[in-house]
Amino acid sequence: MKRWVGPLIAVFAVACLGVFAPVQAQTPAAIKPAVVFSTGGKFDKSFNEGVSQGAEKFKKDTGIAVAEFEPSNETQFEQALRRFAQRGQDPIIAVGFAQAVALEKVAKEFPNIHFTIIDSVVNLPNVQSVVFREQEGSFLVGVLAALASKTGKIGFVGGMDIPLVRRFQCGFEQGIKYANPNAELITNMTGTTPAAWNDPGRGAELARGQIDRGVDVVYAAAGSTGLGILQATKDRGKLGIGVDSNQNHLHPGNMLTSMLKRVDVATYESFKAAMDHQWKGGTQVLGLKEGGVDWALDKDNEKLVTPEMKAKVEAAKADIISGKIVVHDYMSNNSCNR
């Protein structure tokens, strides 16, 4: 039944497209940047919102308007990218791995327009691919989780079950084992379709299920679904770990930390480079060393992180940067075992 609701909504959404067309750049500017968000939506308080923050900062600093598009489902990626390209928007940022196929097609059609894709690699001269070593940031929050857990049971709730999310999970697991070899990790995935990024109800149930099994720290790597996961965790007085953006402010006192993925910086840098005519294609891999990932410590969680915990995490961070600890990447062999 859900199956035909989807297309119906899609038809309606497409009909709306003409009416609510994205706002065009008003000021005459050297570049006309654009962003096509992922299905989680611009206000997911996480991955997409990070990109949005980067774009907002760019707007504020330069006064250049950024055109935006929020697709209501994955079939709109290609249309949105092509529309922007036809209008001469440049550079165009495609947010999320799910846009890779659409972007490859559109980038070939518009070889003179610069595209940036976040979270996936597209090998074309006019495409800049930005990927992150999420396993390193996840390792750090894993260390914190193991140190903060009283029961020795830690939960992970992922969004869509794909290798990228497994990479978060795998790094998290390695961090936990590093800090406490006896700790147990319970892993759940919200679903196997892109809808899994936007299902807070199911996320909350999954978190409750884990908490019922003794889990007291839950890492949510699930886009908008994470809001439900973190809400359920807070409702039960347990600790949550946010992802991508700093989500500590969502539930101060119940958020152990957040795994920061600096998509805001990546977005800002990409626009800035285009403005300064420094834009380059190719692949950028951002890890701890490059400041692409990190863990969040602010006023909302400073009481939860003891000096010992902080020292241990910072030590692990230094070791990863120096290469003393090598965090295994799930996507290198599609397995969490090296």
Binding site: M1, K2, V5, L8, I9, F12, A13, C16, G41, K42, F43, D44, E70, S72, D161, I186, T187, N188, M189, G191, T192, A195, N198, D199, P200, G201, R202, A204, E205, L206, R208, G209, D212, R213, S224, L227, G228, Q231, D235, R236, L250
Partner: protein, 306 residues
């Protein structure tokens, strides 16, 4: 042993949590369908109610204003359905689907216009949500109990009252009811409005109890599952309630079995577990419930003879 007991208790609590919107919706749908008005629009009513409940709760800070707004929103949808199907004798399925599309689009458009959060409402704080009454772990808020009470109420109203007798009659043979001097239209309007009331409560539950705020398409097909539960239950309240519980249980078990090593089987693949509810639905439909017969006049607009 104790661990098993805890597992069973907690799974049952999860079942009730998941089944609550289904039960409320199914009971509402029963009133409507019993009167001969097919309601495919349960999903849309629930979605609209969820949105207005969360939006109002967030703006006024009052729980009861939120629940009230949810009910009013669902009632407006119910009235639209009633006007289209009863007064103007339109096709009930078409009207229901139209309401679903309207809700899916309108909630996101209004949400974006009012809150600029991509169709979401601001997250609700604890004072703006329906909080647990007795067991914080089980999250047993008032609407869970309302759902449980709605079943005997529906049974009583349909099977034991004069209104219920007429309601059943109007769903089977409206001509006879009309001949007895009772207004077919007014009876059906009352049934449709009762349906709106329950769907409104279900919607408020989704956005104010199960979640903390509205997000787009948050009903995720539950209105249709409630409709399936009505058919499973052969248009009777208690069997329909049972069907809702089965759906809820399957969902709860699916969530809890994920990543767990089952003795003798090993770890069950996620995909299989997620397919389980649908497999069981097919299995049950094919083998167990037998022939489900809808009220005879369901779907047929009543035209008064002159």
């Amino acid at each position: 042993m104790e661990e098993t007991l805890t597992f069973v208790t907690l799974t049952l609590a999860a079942t009730l949590r998941v089944a609550t919107p289904l039960v409320l919706c199914a009971m509402g749908g029963l009133f409507s369908e019993k009167s001969g008005i097919i309601d495919v629009g349960l999903e849309g009513k629930m979605l609209m109610a969820a949105f207005f409940a969360a939006a109002t709760a967030s703006l006024t800070g009052s729980i009861w204003a939120g629940v009230g707004a949810g009910i009013v929103a669902a009632e407006v949808m119910a009235l639209l359905h009633g006007v289209a199907c009863i007064t103007y004798r339109g096709n009930q399925v078409v009207s229901g689907i139209a309401l679903n599309i309207l809700a899916a689009g309108l909630t996101v458009v209004l949400g974006t216009a009012w809150f600029a959060r991509g169709g979401q409402t601001p997250p609700l704080g604890d004072s703006e949500r329906l909080m647990p009454i007795f067991f914080p772990v089980a999250r047993d808020n008032i609407l869970v109990y309302a759902a449980l009470l709605s079943v005997p109420f529906t049974w009583w109203a349909i099977a034991r009252t004069r209104f219920g007798l007429r309601l059943r009659a109007v769903g089977e043979m409206p001509l006879a009811v009309d001949g007895a001097g009772v207004s077919v239209g007014w009876l059906r309007y009352r049934a449709v409005l009762l349906c709106g009331l329950f769907a409104g409560l279900a919607g408020a539950y989704l956005s104010m109890a199960q979640n903390a705020g509205f997000s787009r398409d948050m009903t995720a097909g539950q209105g249709f599952i409630a409709l399936a539960a009505i058919i499973f239950g052969k248009w009777r309240p208690f069997p329909a309630f049972g069907a809702c519980l089965i759906f809820g249980l399957l969902d709860a078990v699916a969530i809890r079995l994920q990543g767990v090593s089952v003795p003798g089987v090993g770890e069950v693949p996620v995909q299989l577990i997620q397919a389980l509810p649908y497999l069981l639905t097919l299995f049950l439909l094919a083998g167990f419930i037998g022939n489900a017969v809808a009220p005879k006049a369901a779907g047929i607009p009543y035209e008064k003879e002159h």
